[in-house]
């Protein structure tokens, strides 16, 4: 039980990111506990959040949650979503500012409001500076090189869907643009935390060199007609893919795109 409790403590720490915004929430909660006279608002903005916080740290609740979620303990932080932290901070801040405005004068109220705003800015973290944000290259908000590659290999209107292999860094985006392009492996294989294994991905994910002969053995078995190799800056190949009959149809932003006529012939032979 103590171990489960400590895990919850770690989850809570990770959630708050070690920033002072959580202190602002605690201050707002304490202030409302002292200053809020409306009993229903106390129930919803003080007692309910506190009891949900207690519930979050309560090991039995965590066990029930994990059981209900089919063993998914890594989403336990979502229990903290139930505490309306933002509303409590904003309500507490404005209520305090308004109280000071009435009792100490307009400037006291304005300063308190400005301090609350400054507390949020300096205690928080600017979302648009996140490492996951970047300038959008198009309306799809997908990397333009993925769109260019997909346009190069996508089947035409009325044609059969195709199978393709993409390097790890691009697999997330391909089927957000065109689902007529099917992948031998997708996001489920490239997320390290899921630890799945797939032979084509194992070859493509080799840290330095891709064994072309081994790769083609597997892709041709699975009727894959297009192979996009990793960016030439990042990885090499054991042999020139053209030695095995592949045709280079383009090089998009450093990603060589090959068509495999041998696989296409196999498809033609077997399915007509």
């Amino acid at each position: 039980m103590y171990g489960i409790f400590m895990e919850s403590v770690v989850i809570f720490k990770n959630y708050t990111g070690g920033r002072y915004l959580i202190v602002l929430f605690a201050l707002a909660l304490v202030y409302l506990l002292a200053a809020e006279k409306n009993k229903r608002r106390r129930a919803l903005f003080v007692y309910m959040p506190l009891s949900l916080l207690l519930l979050f740290f309560f090991p039995v609740f965590r066990k029930v949650f994990v059981r209900l979620m089919g063993g998914e303990g890594d989403t336990y932080y979502r229990v903290l979503w139930l505490i309306p932290m933002g509303m409590i901070v904003a309500y507490g801040g404005v209520k305090l500012a308004s109280q000071l405005y009435e009792k100490k004068g307009p400037w006291a109220g304005r300063i308190a409001f400005a301090l609350a705003g400054a507390g949020i800015i300096f205690g928080g973290k600017y979302v648009y500076a996140s490492q996951y944000m970047s300038k959008a290259e198009n309306m799809y908000h997908l990397p333009q090189n993925v769109i260019d590659i997909c346009d190069l290999i996508a089947p035409g209107e009325g044609e059969e869907r195709i199978w393709a292999v993409f390097p790890t860094d691009l697999v997330y985006f391909v089927r957000q643009y065109d689902t007529d392009i099917q992948l031998l492996y997708g996001r489920e294989m490239v997320e390290p935390k899921w630890q799945y294994a797939e032979p084509v991905h194992t070859i493509m994910n080799h840290p330095t060199t891709i064994d072309v002969e081994e790769l083609l053995k597997l892709t041709r078995e699975r009727y894959c007609t297009y192979i996009v190799f990793p960016n030439v800056k990042d990885k090499g190949v054991t042999q020139d893919p053209e030695d095995f009959g592949l045709e280079l149809i383009g090089n998009v932003d450093g990603y060589p795109v090959y068509y495999d006529p041998v696989a296409a012939a196999v498809i033609e032979e077997q399915f007509g």
């Binding site: 990770n14 959630y15 990111g17 920033r19 915004l21 959580i22 409306n38 009993k39 229903r40 608002r41 129930a43 919803l44 007692y47 309910m48 009891s51 949900l52 519930l55 932080y77 979502r78 229990v79 979503w81 139930l82 309306p84 933002g86 509303m87 901070v89 904003a90 309500y91 801040g93 404005v94 209520k95 308004s98 409001f113 705003g117 949020i120 800015i121 928080g124 973290k125 600017y126 979302v127 648009y128 996140s130 996951y132 944000m133 970047s134 300038k135 959008a136 799809y140 908000h141 997908l142 697999v171 997330y172 089927r175 957000q176 643009y177 689902t179 992948l183 492996y185 997708g186 996001r187």
Partner: protein, 359 residues
Amino acid sequence: MIIIRILSLILWLFLIPCCIGMIPMPWIPEKKRNPGVVWIAGYLIMLPLCWLATVPCVLFVKYDSFLVMARWFTALLAAAVLLGIFIGFRAYKKGKPVVPRPALDIGRMAWGERAVWLLFFALLAWQLYKAFTMASFDGDDAEYVAQSLVTWQSNTMYLIKPYTGGTTSLDIRHSLAVLPVWVAYIGRMTGLHTTILAHSVLPFVWIPLTYTVFYEVGKHLFQEKKECLPGFMALMALLQIFGNVSIFTNETFFLTRTWQGKAVAVSFVLPATVWLLFWIFDRRKGEKGTAAGMWALLALTNMTAGVCTSMIVFLNAVMIGAAAFWLAVVERKLGILVKAGLVCIPNGVYMLLYLFLHV
């Protein structure tokens, strides 16, 4: 072509929800009604209708299930729009319009208030500008966004793996949270690629809709001191922009994964639940009007949670339970617990269906 697309998006994302949102208005106290409430109510009805049209088709229609769903959903939406217009028209004829007042009355404000409102709208505009011009990488998009596109392109639902395109037996885990199907439906009706819809257009719905909910919460909390409302809204907007203290917070989900079901659940459904709890239980003495519409909206909020993500169905019931417990204690009324239990019936049905399909 672009103008037709934009008009079509306005129709499906603003006008239709607003027509539908008029349905519960006669059962909501007049003083609480405004265009924002109508718009929120529209989504709280439209999304559960999507669930009702989608889930039976997912479970029982073998071929082209999306086409069948689209027909049923269109029929349900048409009926709801007609009913909403009828209710609105009848109320207007009686001289009691459904929406008697504007959301904001700028004419009566002091200059200081106007300045803070300006600050809030600048922060909101900044968020919308960034949502349009910045791309956010999230691995879950390979599931959510691709799911909408698969549905749109293949006319099937939850039978194709979004990650690879391989066929699969019915994906029960995700098939009850049908928001990607709703996105596919809007994509089909407007002719817009669902990825553009999700990444570039829907933030213009979910972000303002969330702030409309915050506005209603603030309006309720500061009903005695209306001049404080813009300050509340400005702090809320700052909190969203600077709430990215980790990748787990609701603020981070709100602005970096705006289009995903989890983000809609955490930024729209959960605050809407808090808002309705305030509306229902924190009524002023002598406040006139029935609470039936507000209870109905709370039940619909629970159903909307199920449209977004299965987990929030459970969590929203936990929140309502915790709130009802404390309200019952402070009010010394056990009946509150019973009513809260009744309003969570949709959650119970959803969870039972989820477990039944998993077995």
